[in-house]
């Protein structure tokens, strides 16, 4: 009994510190407002009624390059946005940190990469990244039409920098969207993301 009280006290004492930040599948996705690289204001609430994909991005990260160098990410962006999904690519690198892009630099990169996201958001203060608990690039989040988070984690099941691994991997983003659209619960709502650290 004494031991159990000790444990309870300890847990209560430490409780506040044990609450980790980050978006939790099944709960409301953290609201945010931003201005994209075209200067257009947007808010997550603008997309109520639509599926939204958030992609954390850093142009110098080899895990991100794995997805862009052969056009795989761009293909996925086109496939999903053509179905009405809103795809927001977010860069949380702080100014002066690795991977930071000014809007003109990023616009040039979008053209060069033939990217097909709906919006590109420079999250220089890292507020959106911290609200979601974005810890790697890439780190993917899928939000349902009701604003609830459906999926958080890795883009696929093969953590590597090798583009050759993309073909045989399970794409968790596509699967979460397919399951949700079919009215099924998302079978894998959260995975450990893989990639480079986010340069807040």
């Amino acid at each position: 009994m004494k031991r159990q009280i000790g444990v309870l006290t300890l847990l209560a004492m430490m409780g506040a510190k044990l609450v980790l930040g980050g978006a939790v599948p099944g709960q409301d996705a953290p609201a945010f407002q931003a201005v994209d690289i075209e200067g257009k204001g947007l808010a997550l609430s603008d997309f109520k009624g639509k599926y939204v994909v958030l992609e954390w991005y850093n142009p110098g990260c080899p895990f991100v390059r794995k997805w862009y160098q052969n056009g795989d990410m761009q293909k996925l962006q086109r496939e999903l946005t053509s179905q009405g999904v809103v795809w927001i690519t977010i860069n949380s690198s702080a100014p002066g940190k690795q991977g930071h892009l000014t809007p003109p630099q990023w616009k040039e990169l979008v053209v060069k990469n033939n990217s097909a996201a709906t919006h590109y958001v420079a999250d220089e203060k890292g507020d959106i990244g911290r609200a979601y608990g974005a810890q790697t690039t890439p780190h993917m989040f899928v939000i349902g039409p009701d604003g609830k988070l459906l999926y958080a984690g890795a883009i696929d099941s093969k953590p590597s920098t090798d583009p050759g691994d993309i073909m045989g991997a399970t794409n968790y983003v596509r699967r979460a969207l397919e399951e949700a659209k079919a009215g099924k619960p998302v079978s894998v709502p959260q995975t450990k993301p893989y990639g480079c650290s986010v340069k807040y």
Binding site: V7, Q69, T161, D162
Partner: protein, 282 residues
């Protein structure tokens, strides 16, 4: 006849692909010196030795531990050896923790050696050289990350008695410092729905330091754990990571900062921390 051994899943060695997208953002130069190493220059059949890979890392860059932490990737080593040669598990030195804001990774800086025990069968012909082929790939990170891969070959002559190589002192220095189990230490984890309460006894008066779980996803690497207690009993609470279900037994490396050393501990899971809670809850 060759046998493949891998420290992780089997994989194919691929040449680093040419970067075509985002071509104007050059990858930084991070070229470690990577060599195959062996504790012997001549081996004797039936007498095990150690072989593996040595990375000399550029300053400011780190290589990852078997659990890389919140980001990064563990180095992978695949062995291709003749069928009458046995390769044991890679022996991972105790890692360091690299904190980056709220997150952290586990790994190594400087010169890193990952070796494994090698056993050659007694029937090895005395005039035959032994060729150990090692394919490895890794990720180096500083403020950005650069992947690398190579194939190495360690060729050793057969002799009636083994001869130590020039790398033997460095290899044995690493082996002496590997985190080992102490029979007196006992550790358990009691789980609640969101946390694990970890209790360690038998540290002989030493203060525990950071606790590195060998598997990923048990608790967030970025979480700064705090130990409470004195003398023979220490406890800490960690938030549960994504790993479900929590394993019955986990292995972790416990730093002992006062000793400048680390021990390997087995943490036994004790479930149902509040077994009566469900019944008593409304």
């Amino acid at each position: 006849m060759w046998t493949r051994y891998s420290c992780c899943s089997l994989w194919l060695v691929v040449a680093m692909a040419t970067v075509v997208g985002a071509a104007e953002i050059a990858l930084p130069v991070a070229e470690p010196i990577v060599e195959g190493v062996s504790s012997v220059s001549e081996f004797a059949p039936g007498q095990p030795f150690y072989a593996g890979v040595r990375w000399r890392l550029p300053e400011g860059w780190h290589l990852y531990w078997q659990n890389p932490g919140d980001s990064g990737m563990a180095p992978q080593i695949e062995w291709i050896v003749p069928s009458n040669v046995q390769v044991g598990a890679v022996l991972w030195p105790a890692p360091s923790r690299f904190k980056e804001g709220e997150y952290a990774t586990f790994g190594y800086t400087g010169t890193v050696m990952l070796v494994a025990p090698i056993a050659v069968g007694d029937a090895w012909p005395s005039d035959r050289e032994l060729e150990l082929k090692i394919a490895t790939r890794w990720l180096l990170c500083a403020d950005t990350c650069v992947p690398g891969s190579t194939q190495l070959t360690v060729t050793l002559r057969c002799a009636p008695q083994p001869s130590p190589s020039t790398n033997a002192p460095a290899i044995y220095a690493i082996l002496r410092r590997l985190p080992r189990s102490w029979p007196r230490i006992a550790a358990s984890a009691k789980l609640s729905s969101t946390t694990a309460w970890i209790r360690v006894t038998g540290l002989s008066g030493l203060r525990p330091g950071y606790l590195y779980p060998r598997e990923e996803g048990l608790w967030p690497a970025g979480y700064d754990l705090t130990w409470n207690g004195v003398g023979e009993e220490w406890h800490t609470v960690v938030p549960l990571g994504l790993r479900r279900p929590w394993p019955e037994r986990i292995q972790a490396v416990l730093e002992l900062p006062e000793q400048g050393a680390a021990v390997m501990i087995d943490i036994i899971t004790i479930r149902d921390i509040f077994p009566n809670r469900k019944e008593s809850s409304p």
